[in-house]
Amino acid sequence: MERMLRQVGADTLSWLQGLGRATVMWIRAAYRVPKPSDWMLVIRQVYSIGVLSMAIIVLSAFAIGSVIALQFYTQLARFGAEDAVGVGLALVLLRELGPVVTALLFAGRAGSAITAEIGLMKTTEQLSIMEMMGVDPLRRIVAPRLWGGIISMPLLTLMFNTVAIYGGVVVAVHWLGADSGGFWSGMQNAVELWDDLGKGMIKSVVFAVVVTWIAVYQGYDCEPTAEGMGLATTRTVVMSSVLILAFDFFLTLLMYGDFR
């Protein structure tokens, strides 16, 4: 009994400590970007986090968009409501699937890479060497990755939405023969600039902060062994995925929930 209580207490304390360390790291790192000399570092990270993730984002966006259009079309065609494909596709993508799927792919593609990279730097003691040389690793290593991720993810979400809608157009309009006029005008009537696109982008920014924060922290805080690095990388992907879905639910509840 006493051992169990003690175990729970120890776990809670170490969890709280981790949260505290992560918060302090985030605040200290996020504080130091606006120096112009650091922008080159951020650009380099936008390249390795954002540009290199484009291929997987574009590919899966096209697949997801065309599959949604196919499913909607076959169901709606039974009621003669093929024109509603555009509306359904755009709303589903802008509100939910765009930000969430982009964030999940981003966590798998870029988040794990960030953790592994920083983890290896820590394991090989590059971080301590930097500190010894008087270079702050938070500023040199952590902050550019945080900002790179926060800049990249909303842009990737925008591309995801665009390509997915294009995929839907290819399937519904060019292949299955839905009326192109009804498709677009239905979409334009139903989609609101702020309510759908804007709120979806807010989600995307929140997910960007969550994923890059977890990825950077897990790398920075990992146990400096080969096994610890592997664990940290796994934890990044698992924790980001779970938190993205949880945050998505609460953000949806806050922004679209019909209570006020």
Binding site: V46, Y47, V51, L155, L158, T162, V163, Q188
Partner: protein, 151 residues
């Protein structure tokens, strides 16, 4: 990787993101340009607005000419007071214009249909539409039908 290549590809990446944003704003959400144009307000009293919502359409002859901006209730008379926002400058609608609450299709959204009158005078900003017909509530219709059948 040379810095030059990185910078170029990051530039292309950001540009692609911007283009995607423009596409989503213009083509997908089809921003309403008419919103910045002049509008004026009318009010109308209905005995029942069941299912009408703020931002529902106001249309004439099937063309959208405005939207509902406010729905309040007058508890004394048991009536709903609906505020309509009509696009354009006042002077397009006759003073005896009628307003009806209609439904798009069988189960679609409720909207307000305006029926032009023949008066010489025109509705000005803030005027009230007198001739109104509230929403047809399916339950009431079925109830009447059933009670008539029983006779």
């Amino acid at each position: 990787m040379r810095m030059r290549t990185i910078e170029i590809s990051v530039g292309a990446f950001v540009l692609a993101g911007m283009l995607a944003a423009v596409f989503l704003v213009v083509q997908v959400s089809g921003i309403n340009v008419s919103q910045s144009e002049q509008t004026y307000k009318l009010s109308a009293r209905f005995d029942d607005v069941a299912g009408l919502r703020i931002r529902s359409k106001v249309s004439m002859a099937g063309v959208t000419i405005g939207r509902v901006t406010d729905i309040a209730v007058d508890t004394e008379f048991g009536e709903a007071i609906v505020t309509l926002e009509i696009d354009g400058a006042p002077g397009g609608l006759t003073a005896d214009t009628g307003a009806k609450i209609l439904t798009e299709g069988m189960l679609g959204a409720r909207y307000i249909g305006l029926i032009p009158g023949a008066d010489e005078e025109m509705l000005a900003d803030g005027d009230e539409i007198i001739e109104t017909q509230g929403a047809i509530v399916l339950e009431n219709l079925i109830g009447q039908f059933l009670s008539n059948m029983g006779k």
